[in-house]
């Protein structure tokens, strides 16, 4: 009796397994993934590499260096008529200042980082 029941169970299992599962339409997965597509964009919540204050600091530092280059060794003094060759002098001092490779590297790196940061922000938020 038990054996008969077992055979019966096996037979029904075999018949049902043979009938198999139904398949949905061929574009089922594509349609579903398309429905999810608008949500695929990751929500980027990161902060910019440099804060506004840091950018202001770098610009100020840059200006101070320029100013220092302009006035160091200047022939300005109270009571004297300004020397109008100062423009030429300024240009030559700036080029002397930037002839230091270390300072040049620091400056260029700073600006490159700033530009990259702005670019990444624009790309990720678009």
């Amino acid at each position: 009796m038990k054996n008969k029941m077992h055979n019966d169970e096996e037979a029904i299992k075999k018949l049902l397994k043979e009938s198999g599962l139904e398949s949905p339409s061929s574009d089922f997965t594509r349609n579903l993934m398309s429905a999810l597509a608008p949500e695929r964009k990751p929500v980027f919540t990161g902060q910019p590499i440099f804060s506004r204050n840091q950018v202001i600091f770098f610009i100020s530092l840059f200006s101070i260096i320029l100013l220092y280059a302009a006035v160091s060794g200047s022939t300005f003094s109270i009571g004297r008529v300004p020397d109008f060759t100062i423009a030429e002098d300024l240009i030559s001092k700036i080029s002397t200042t930037f002839s230091s490779p270390l300072l040049l590297i620091v400056m260029i790196s700073g600006w490159v980082l700033y530009i990259l940061d702005s670019f990444m922000k624009r790309t990720l938020s678009s």
């Binding site: 049902l16 009938s19 599962l21 398949s23 349609n31 993934m33």
Partner: protein
């Protein structure tokens, strides 16, 4: 009939990890892995391919959106099929329910083992059609339980998780479904044999 094999897929948790890491495309593997059973369960319930497809799609979308809340207390598939089942019930509530009553007095001349022998005279395609038609005459829950128990070979505890029915209730429904299938197949087979003779 579904020809895709589950053997080529990895464990669900592998895909879930990828999705959590931001790889949305990994969800398509989970969809491909489970879409046939999800669709079949919905079809057993609503008996309409269009509705079944909509239900299965909706279940996959719901599951995706609820992934952050999925704690993994049960298997992803069990959780997904439960959503399919509940979606189907909601759909059915909107439709008129039609069920086939079982005739308790009917005579069962052939058991399944004998029927299997008799059905061998038919082509495989015809056999599949017969069995599918027989499953369609079961009521919705019976169709789902038969599919999960015999085709997917899931334990009754998992079927209970999916359907929300008690273990005892599942056993009763399985018994009734078997009897109905037996009667329906037997009658179909008798008709077929008469035609052949």
């Amino acid at each position: 009939m579904c020809h895709s094999s589950k053997m080529k897929y990895l464990d669900d948790e592998v895909y879930l990890e990828k999705i959590r890491a931001g790889n949305v495309q990994a969800y398509s593997f989970l969809v491909n892995k489970h879409k046939s059973l999800a669709f079949t369960l919905a079809l057993r319930m609503v008996r309409n391919r269009e509705d079944a497809e909509e239900i299965a799609q909706d279940a996959f979308l719901k599951a995706y959106h609820a992934l952050p809340e999925f704690k993994g207390d049960s298997k992803f598939s069990t959780w997904l099929f439960r959503i399919v089942y509940n979606n189907s019930i909601n759909k059915l509530r909107k439709n008129v329910k039609a069920t086939v009553a079982i005739d308790e007095q009917a005579e069962y001349d052939l058991n399944f083992a004998e029927m299997e022998e008799e059905l061998k005279i038919l082509h495989a395609k015809e056999r599949r059609l017969y069995v599918k038609e027989a499953i369609d005459t079961l009521d919705e829950e019976e169709g789902v339980i038969i599919t999960l128990f015999y085709i997917e070979e899931l334990p009754s505890a998992t079927i209970s998780e999916i359907t929300g029915l008690t273990d005892a209730n599942i056993r009763v429904k399985l018994h009734r479904a078997r009897k109905k299938l037996q009667l329906i197949l037997q009658n179909k087979l008798k008709g077929e044999l008469k035609e052949l003779l």
